[in-house]
Point group: C2
Chain length 165, copies 2
């Protein structure tokens, strides 16, 4: 249950590749395509939306490509997925668009709401920088948090709290 679409998955992986070139080296779609094994045409769709959302910038012509529009520590996984898949909405009830007819009588309404909020909170704490440095991976494996205390931003330490649950 709760499958993430390929658009979201590829989007995060593409952003990871773009982030690696930050702040100077643009990466072409072709390169992302080869490294992440996703077709150029499909990536075009995905990156287009992320560009319109202001997460990345594009440079046309030879030597061009894509580059982050903010620093990696300021781009969360949540912001990427929100653009590509919309906000977390476990039920149509909770979709910002269509309203719920039976909010009050629905016992499960607050359950789904709470879960959705927790997921969003989690995704907001993980940034592209975490993906690049691998801090996140170490923490999720249960390694010592205090091994690299000075590199921990506030956001990162929040992510750790969540992961240690």
């Amino acid at each position: 249950m709760l499958r993430l679409s390929t658009k979201g998955q590829y989007g995060v992986r593409a952003m990871y590749e773009i982030a690696r070139g930050y702040p100077e080296t643009p990466i072409t779609i072709k390169e992302i395509s080869e490294r992440q094994d996703v077709s150029v045409a499909y990536l075009e769709q995905i990156l287009n939306r992320l560009r319109k959302a202001g997460l990345i910038r594009s440079i046309k012509g030879p030597g061009g490509g894509y580059i982050l529009d903010k620093s990696p520590e300021n781009i969360s996984i949540a912001s990427i997925l929100n653009e590509l898949e919309g906000p977390v909405a476990l039920t149509s009830c909770l979709d910002p668009e269509g309203g719920c007819v039976r909010v009050d009588s629905c016992v499960t309404h607050l359950l789904w709401k709470a879960l959705g909020e927790q997921v969003e909170a989690f995704l907001r704490t993980i940034t592209l920088k975490n993906l690049i440095t691998g801090d996140f991976l170490k923490v999720s494996k249960g390694q010592s948090v205090r091994a690299k205390p000075k590199s921990q931003s506030i956001k990162e330490s929040k992510a750790m709290t969540l992961l240690k649950l």
Copy 2:
């Protein structure tokens, strides 16, 4: 993103109705259908799977219906959803069935894994009893946890920790 299927949603709501009759009063599909506004035929499919999973028991003939096979505090939302939608698997990579070809090279693999585990942990802590007593709802609204200390099981207090994040 991350929409829950109606099967899962209806399943939980149906289980809530069945739980209300525990341990003595069986409830018919027809009654659940009317209370939760879901067709009888669709509920039949759903309840069948929950019965085969051992969560509920059925009694045929007049006066029959469905009844829980365990006490409400021993049936978690996770166990219901797992039967109806399978385990949380944000990517096909993480599906217990199909294996991942590029586990090691995939930077995001552990991210989705960690998120999935967190969601499962959350759903395991919420039980049908929480739904019935409404304890869960109070907590999720940020009310004092210590207001009813004696009714708190270990599981419930875990859920609260999660909700307070």
